[in-house]
């Protein structure tokens, strides 16, 4: 029926068991809490980068006098380097497992909205604006609130996690309906 396939070594496998990955992220959070004395998070540091990138568009004066950017200034600190680390890790992981692929329009999107690259990129850009605005309003994203907040049993973390899922499900119903393929 099927030809025997040699399973690639652990480091070259393109996917790892999701429970093992979850447990490893849990262990990683122990290290971050104990060693760096910070929660695992992404968007707080991304705010500083947003301020730095806004300077050429809005002027240094406008950004420097903004209270929120004042409190979340750009620094090469733990959080910012952690973001650089995520990019490095994602790149190395993709190269080692030979799964680096240039993707502009994913299959699930194409089936529903066609293969226009401009349309997909516009949706991703708009989605990015909403995701970051929401994450700042909630003071954390899937990492800072959803994982780090929830694992500390923070009321805000669990409120975020459950509300995010509810609205994600509603949005996917509106965008994709209930039909369509499930291939990944």
């Amino acid at each position: 029926m099927s030809t025997p396939v040699t399973k690639p070594g652990f480091l070259r496998q393109s996917r790892w068991n999701p429970y093992a990955v979850g447990a490893a992220i849990g262990v990683l959070s122990w290290i971050v809490f104990a060693v760096v004395d910070k929660p695992l998070g992404v968007t707080t540091s991304l705010t500083g980068l947003a301020g730095a990138c806004a300077v050429p568009f809005l002027g240094a004066e406008t950004v420097a006098t903004n209270d929120y950017f004042k409190a979340h200034g750009f620094k090469w600190d733990y959080g910012m380097l952690f973001l650089g680390g995520i990019a490095l890790g994602g790149l190395l992981s993709a190269l080692i497992s030979r799964s680096f692929r240039i993707e502009a329009v994913p299959s699930v999107w194409r089936e529903r909205f066609g293969d226009s690259v401009v349309k997909r990129l516009a949706a991703a850009f708009l989605g990015g604006i909403l995701a970051m605005f929401g994450a700042r309003l909630a003071d954390g994203c899937t990492s800072g609130n959803g994982i780090s907040g929830s694992l500390q049993l923070a009321v805000g973390g669990w409120t975020f996690f459950l509300t995010l899922f509810a609205f994600g499900i509603l949005t996917s119903l509106v965008l994709f309906g209930t039909r369509g393929s499930s291939k990944s």
């Binding site: 809490f33 947003a50 699930v108 949706a123 970051m132 500390q152 923070a154 609205f167 996917s172």
Partner: protein, 207 residues
């Protein structure tokens, strides 16, 4: 034992063992491990994330629930042993609820959350890369809406830096026992459903 979970634990000052440039180097390494785990976990993939919300792929839920339980028990133990501080964010209920709702809409439209987007852009996703620009614009829009939001939104339902054990009186270990029980049932049902789907597909392929 980890019985006493009074808010005083939040104030316990633990000095991190690693500081200065060592900590900065450590953060790149820790970030790289996180990025690699997101990529190999499959969540740096648009389809995997969107299909979670369509109940066609449960990878996101499996990873998040396992991370919360394993991470939570470890941090609870470290904190009880005086080796780690909690870092609780203020539960501004209106802000968190509205923020999570907007985030949920954005995450499905984008197909990534900020962390997975960085890993995805680094592994070749062009739309993840363009969406990172959106994240930066979103952050800037928030910064300039902040005075209004801080005045009218954040104070509504501001409960402070509270944990579930503080507001319910139910101890942390009982919460984790309940989470483990829920996760065990949910994971069992997911795995059973996935085996059935796989069997149906194999049957179709055979025909």
């Amino acid at each position: 034992m980890f019985v006493s979970l009074a808010p005083m634990h939040l104030l316990a000052a633990v000095t991190p063992p690693v500081t200065g440039s060592t900590a900065l180097f450590a953060s790149v390494v820790l970030g790289a491990i996180f990025g690699a785990l997101l990529h190999r976990g499959g969540v740096a993939n648009y389809t995997v994330i969107v299909n979670q919300f369509r109940f066609r792929d449960f990878t996101v839920l499996k990873i998040m629930m396992t991370a919360i339980i394993v991470g939570g028990l470890g941090v609870l133990a470290l904190n009880s042993a005086g080796l780690a501080n909690y870092h609780i964010k203020a539960a501004n209920m209106l802000g968190v609820t509205m923020g999570a709702a907007i985030f949920g809409v954005g995450m499905v439209l984008y197909g990534y959350c900020p962390g997975t987007a960085i890993a995805a852009a680094a592994s070749g996703s062009l739309h993840a890369l363009v969406g990172l620009g959106g994240l930066l614009v979103g952050g800037t829009l928030y910064a300039f809406s902040f005075p209004w939001i801080a005045r009218y939104v954040l104070p509504v339902g501001a409960l402070g830096k509270v944990r579930l054990p503080d507001v319910t009186g139910i101890p942390a270990l009982a919460w984790f026992a309940a989470l483990i029980a829920i996760a065990a049932v949910v994971f069992f049902l997911i795995e059973r459903a996935e085996r059935r789907t796989a069997a149906v597909r194999a049957g179709e392929a055979f025909r």
